[in-house]
């Protein structure tokens, strides 16, 4: 469906998740600790039998701090869990700039539903993601009875996920629509067609990044829901392209200057300066660089370089707080990862 690089200019990544609950047990919020332990045991047992090395499990309690932050950054954990976890509530800096390079399957146990599993990709090939997810669902459900009703479909804790339990989303970058203040108008139109668009981050400064997803989960097949989301992407892309043309026609020189400044600023970022980095500003600069590459204002052939830049900036931000917390073990891990990315980028 995606032809050429047009959509690639706006697409950052995509994800599909399925929500499932085990039959004969209350939903997580109303389950006893024995029951949640039982759920975990049952699901882990099934998952181990998949013997699939690509599956990554997130047992939040058992995660090392670095991994945990990484998981949170990928927004695989909802705000509700964040609130439950005292350690993390103090710094809810979830962000989603660095997507895994390959498609990745992750499984969550006892979050809002007993089982939520998802496939994340750094392109928008949601249909391939669905194939993997569908297959995994079949395999996990070989020995587990999921709460299911022939009329209502898969029963979920929140009625908004009822039926398929499927949420397909594409993360997009729409700087020109945001700059020309047209996002509301475009999103309202999409909303009428069952497409939900929300800001990717909560703070205002990062208003250029959005998540496009299916609003409803019941009454359509899984592939129809996914197609609906995919069909919205070229539409959004057309609007963004028009807005970019408008910005270029009216503001080319100023934009070129901004892009250049942002690029230079980001290029100067290193570990020693990490304390000076202001996250909101960094995001704005990343957005400008991404736009600059798309508009061929910057001589940077590979968008992957920005990707690593995104990642290392994010890591540096974490390094900053690790140093502030005097957690030097974590700081050392972060330092090594930042170096790895730096070396990868130069080669």
């Amino acid at each position: 469906m995606v032809d050429g690089n047009l959509e690639a200019d706006i697409v950052i990544g995509s994800r599909i998740r399925l929500a499932r609950n085990i039959a004969g047990l209350p939903f997580v919020d109303h389950a006893t600790s024995d029951q949640t332990a039982h759920i975990e045991k049952v699901i882990m047992h099934e998952a181990e039998s998949l013997s699939d090395p690509t599956i990554v499990f997130y047992d939040l309690a058992g995660l090392e701090e670095l991994e945990r932050q990484f998981v949170l950054d990928l927004e695989r954990v909802s705000r509700a869990v964040l609130r439950k976890d005292q350690d993390l509530s103090s710094q809810p800096k979830a962000s989603l700039l660095s997507e895994p390079v390959v498609s990745e399957l992750s499984v969550q146990v006892n979050e809002e539903d007993h089982l939520r599993f998802s496939v994340t990709r750094n392109d928008c090939d949601l249909l391939s993601a669905w194939e993997l997810l569908d297959r995994t669902d079949d395999r996990i459900s070989q020995n587990i009875d999921f709460a299911f009703d022939s009329q209502r479909g898969f029963l979920t804790a929140c009625p908004a996920n009822l039926g398929t339990g499927l949420k397909a989303s594409v993360m997009v970058h729409l700087p020109a629509l945001a700059q020309t203040r047209q996002t509301e108008k475009v999103f309202r139109t999409l909303h009428k067609h069952g497409i939900n668009v929300r800001g990717l981050f909560n703070d205002e400064a990062s208003g250029n990044f959005f998540r496009v997803s299916n609003q409803l989960t019941l009454g359509l097949t899984e592939s129809d829901l996914i197609t609906k989301v995919l069909d919205a992407i070229p539409v959004i892309n057309r609007f963004e392209c028009k807005a970019r043309e408008f910005v270029l026609d009216n503001n080319r020189d100023a934009l070129r200057r901004d892009v250049q400044v942002a690029y230079e600023n980001l290029g100067r970022v290193d570990v020693d300066q990490v304390r000076e980095i202001e996250w909101a500003n960094t995001l704005r600069e990343l957005s400008l660089v991404r736009l600059g590459v798309a508009l061929e204002m910057l001589d940077m052939s590979k968008a992957s370089q920005i990707q690593s830049m995104f990642e290392s900036v994010q890591l540096k931000k974490r390094l900053d707080s690790a140093i502030a917390d005097e957690n030097y073990q974590l700081a050392a891990e972060l330092r090594d990862r930042i170096r790895e990315i730096g070396e990868g980028g130069q080669s």
């Binding site: 039959a23 047990l25 939903f27 919020d29 009703d149 898969f154 019941l218 009454g219």
Partner: protein, 169 residues
């Protein structure tokens, strides 16, 4: 005809296009106004929106609301009030027990109320025994708290026999 979202007389008959499907809605003037308005204001999320939409007319009839809120699922013990507060249900049986209350909500959020997606690979089990399991496990917790271990023994055996029946079935 009654309004699909409250108990008033439906005077508005709206046909809306959701995806490729035509959706017929029968609403009272207040709910129709709400329904048409929401398209203009995509806010926090479909759930919150739909809940507000559904409950607004109810708020005008405080007594109805109190009655509705005090309805408690005999299986998991959640009240409709708790669901309204949290936006989450207590157990799968709530979809049966609160069916009348949830129906308009589902129509609001999804525009449909019938699943057409994939089915579990294993045949769908007897939902009654699943519901009974939830009820028994809840009762078990209560009697253990009351230190009534004799009753707990009985319940444990009942649970085991249902579970064994499921495994062999």
């Amino acid at each position: 005809m009654k309004c699909q979202k409250c108990q008033k007389q439906a005077t508005f008959h709206i046909t809306d296009l959701t995806g490729d499907e035509l959706l017929a809605l029968h609403l009272c003037p207040d709910c129709a106004k709400q329904y048409l308005k929401t398209d203009e204001t995509p806010s926090e999320g479909p759930m919150t929106n739909a809940l507000q939409k559904q409950l607004k007319p109810l708020e005008q009839a405080a007594e109805d609301l109190r009655e509705l809120d005090s309805k408690v699922c005999p299986i998991c013990g959640i009240s409709f009030f708790e669901f309204r507060q949290a936006g989450r249900l207590g157990c799968p049986h709530d979809y049966v027990f609160f069916q009348a209350e949830l129906e308009p909500l589902l129509i609001n959020v999804h525009g449909q109320n019938h699943h057409v997606g994939k089915q579990p690979k294993r045949g769908v089990r007897d939902t009654e025994s699943q519901t009974e399991l939830i009820r028994l496990r809840r009762e078990m917790k209560e009697v253990v708290e009351q230190e009534d271990y004799e009753r707990a023994t009985e319940i444990r055996d009942q649970i085991r026999s249902i579970e064994e029946g499921q495994q062999s079935g």
